[in-house]
């Protein structure tokens, strides 16, 4: 763990805090305070903040304190739209370019997720979910596509986390994953794209519900 670059370590810590809500949306992130908190200097802290800004978790404001991003539904929905475009292309390419080993390995990841369901920390479960989607993108054998896709998956992490509160949703997600995996095993690009669309459309609806409930509770 100590071998990772310091700014990355700091970014990891801050990211976790943001995703868990320890750092609330809209809250200021003052370089000095957070740097001294973590016993580092401002330099790597600044870099860490830029990393999170690139991921869309933090908003940089010239000559002002950066703040934790507080995206509107429209923004989240826009991000999901981009993710959809990327993931559809990834899926189709993966059907074409994945090795058999890729498929069995990703199948194993899914099995592992199933066996972990409800037994582990929700944050850790979401890590697995992310890794599953990223593994499919990686199987497209287009490194740029996989990397870009990862960036957007990560950017949506908090929104997905928050919108997954409905207890039935995890079962539905599980079924959607199985559908995607089925098409992937058959290397059927059209079907796979269709199932990915279902999955991500459902995500938009989940997020929409979440935002609707939030606004009515005010």
């Amino acid at each position: 763990m100590t071998d990772k670059a310091l700014p990355d370590q700091i970014a990891d810590k801050l990211r976790r805090d943001i995703l868990k809500g320890v750092l609330a949306p809209g809250q200021q992130i003052k370089e000095r305070d957070h740097a001294t908190d973590l016993d580092v200097s401002r330099t790597p802290m600044r870099e860490a903040i830029r990393i999170l800004a690139k991921e869309g978790l933090v908003l940089l404001r010239p000559s002002r304190s950066p703040i934790v991003a507080d995206p509107s539904f429209e923004e989240i929905s826009d991000v999901i739209e981009v993710l959809t475009a990327l993931e559809l292309r990834s899926g189709a390419l993966a059907c074409q370019n994945a090795t058999d080993e890729d498929i069995t390995r990703i199948q194993a990841m899914q099995d592992h997720m199933d066996s972990c369901q409800g037994k582990i920390d929700r944050i850790d479960f979401f890590e697995l979910d992310m890794e599953f989607h990223m593994a499919i993108a990686a199987a497209s054998k287009n490194a740029v596509l996989a990397e870009t896709h990862s960036a957007f998956v990560r950017r949506l992490w908090r929104a997905r986390y928050l919108s997954a509160s409905r207890k039935d949703s995890s079962d539905r997600v599980k079924r959607q994953h199985h559908d995607i995996m089925q098409a992937f095993c058959d290397r059927d690009p059209e079907l796979m794209c269709a199932k990915i669309s279902v999955h991500l459309d459902a995500l938009i609806e989940n997020v929409r519900d979440k935002y609707a409930k939030e606004s009515e509770s005010k």
Copy 2:
């Protein structure tokens, strides 16, 4: 001009140098040297380098000097593939969401490009070409999509610049743009996507030719 943030100004300068080839692919960018060259300190120079790394123009290597990116054909082709995914989605959405003013404005941009052809600096012409594609993406009314799309257009700038040496290609590009614009005016998503595909497939072939010629000249 002086109102822009210092790291951005530095990044602009470096970017131009990279795209024009003043800084050759593979060449090291030493923080101290380039900082003193531009009469700034290492801090904003470091930030500028990170900006260019985000754009894919520079490669960061932990504890080593960053180097100017020297992408293989496969990498460029991967980037174009991602751009295609983004631009297809943009085009379809633009057909749906663009205002009539958007369309007439973009039409005017194209007319302007036509009238400028051959009369202006190739670099300036490419700026117009970029702006044309970015304007279509912006007309999708998905800000995230437009921004991401822009990043990839910019990332391909040098490859397109280098591969546009063939003198007939500009006429072909002009025709392809007209086809895209025709579909856009008719708000026909399928046709527009088809024409965008043609355009970007042609780009891949242009780049492939360029790389083939380059390798045989060695």
